[in-house]
Amino acid sequence: MNCPTVDELLPLHAYGDLSADEAAEVDGHLAECPGCRAEFAALTAVRQALDATPPPEVVVDPIVISHAAIERSAVRGRWRWAVACGGLALGLMGLALLKLEVRVDGQQCVVRWGTPPEIVPPARLVESAPDTMVALEERVRVLQELTHALAADVAARDRVRGVSQVQTNARLDALVRTIARRFQEAERDVDALYTAQFRPVNEGVKP
């Protein structure tokens, strides 16, 4: 063993905490090394010096302990009650704020919080369905009258359109006749002008 290794073991050796083999090795080194011997003597002196401090004189009264324990238990009990009540109050306030609702209906348990959504009834596809045969017949009659009225309206419109068409045709015929008459008049005017212009030179021959 060298000095650094022995130096680490000396505190344990001073208290007899080394194994027999280690202790023998350390003792062998101490017999040959004055420096480590001095260090071991100093550590042994420290061990003795630690006992120089007298232990404190204390007197613990078990009666005081049991009274203090009872008082502390009572205080703890009051605290537990206060904490439990406070927790319960906070919990109830929380539930109220959440608007929690727990309901058991038949075979289901409903847990709901917050404001429930507004229930909108499903829209009815047929607003007023006939409830009886009389109402049905009445509706059929109204529909028939409505159909007849529509048919009469269509017929009246057809008649008006027919009259208008006849008048338009008559105006077209008159216009055709006017155009034809004017064309004949224009043709006669052209012949007259031609005759007046060219008869003396080439009588009876058109260019």
Partner: protein, 178 residues
């Protein structure tokens, strides 16, 4: 260290006997770890109050001394935390050993020097020193109290003793001469 039966949990007289048996070792442990003589009496009372309140949780299969010193350790650490929180540094605390009666002047001086040197150690070193030197526990027992491996504790103990040797050499040369 010895163990104890469980009668103290229900029998007030047995509890009083337990207090009488352990109050001095616990006071010594608190004196070393907390290094504040003024508070030892109150802290000792607090340790036994905790023992009394926790008596239902004690299992007889465990070593009583281990359980007791774990409670004392927690009490001491709480006291040190409170003192740190209050901003009172350790090294300003002067142990009151010089007021102990029945000690010769030289002994009182030595005791004061040693107490100051111990107070200057870190708490982790004071804990292992108190349990090994004062309570005579082996490192396996200390390991169960502190929840630290025995090899680490041996290293801490060696460090504590070396530091004390240096501290005492600096503070009290007369120790070297003796």
């Amino acid at each position: 260290m010895g163990s104890t039966d469980g009668s103290w949990r229900t029998d007030e007289a047995a509890f009083a006997g337990l207090v009488r048996r352990w109050q001095r070792p616990i006071a010594r442990f608190l004196q070393r770890v907390v290094a504040d003589e003024d508070r030892v009496q109150d802290l000792c009372q607090d340790v036994f109050l905790r023992v009394y309140l926790a008596r239902e949780r004690y299992r007889e299969t465990d070593a009583f001394s281990t359980w007791l010193f774990q409670i004392a350790l927690n009490t001491a650490r709480d006291a040190l935390r409170r003192r740190r929180r209050d901003g009172q540094p350790l090294h300003t605390i002067e142990p009151l050993v010089d007021e102990s009666p029945g000690l010769a002047c030289e002994q009182r001086e030595t005791a004061l020097v040693v107490a100051e040197a111990v107070a200057a150690l870190p708490a982790s070193l004071r804990e292992v020193l108190a349990l090994r030197h004062d309570q005579g526990m082996n490192f396996e027992q200390i390991s169960r109290v502190l929840g630290v491996p025995a090899s680490t504790l041996k290293s801490r103990f060696a460090t504590a003793l070396h530091r004390l040797r240096d501290q005492l050499a600096a503070l009290g040369p007369q120790l070297e001469e003796k």
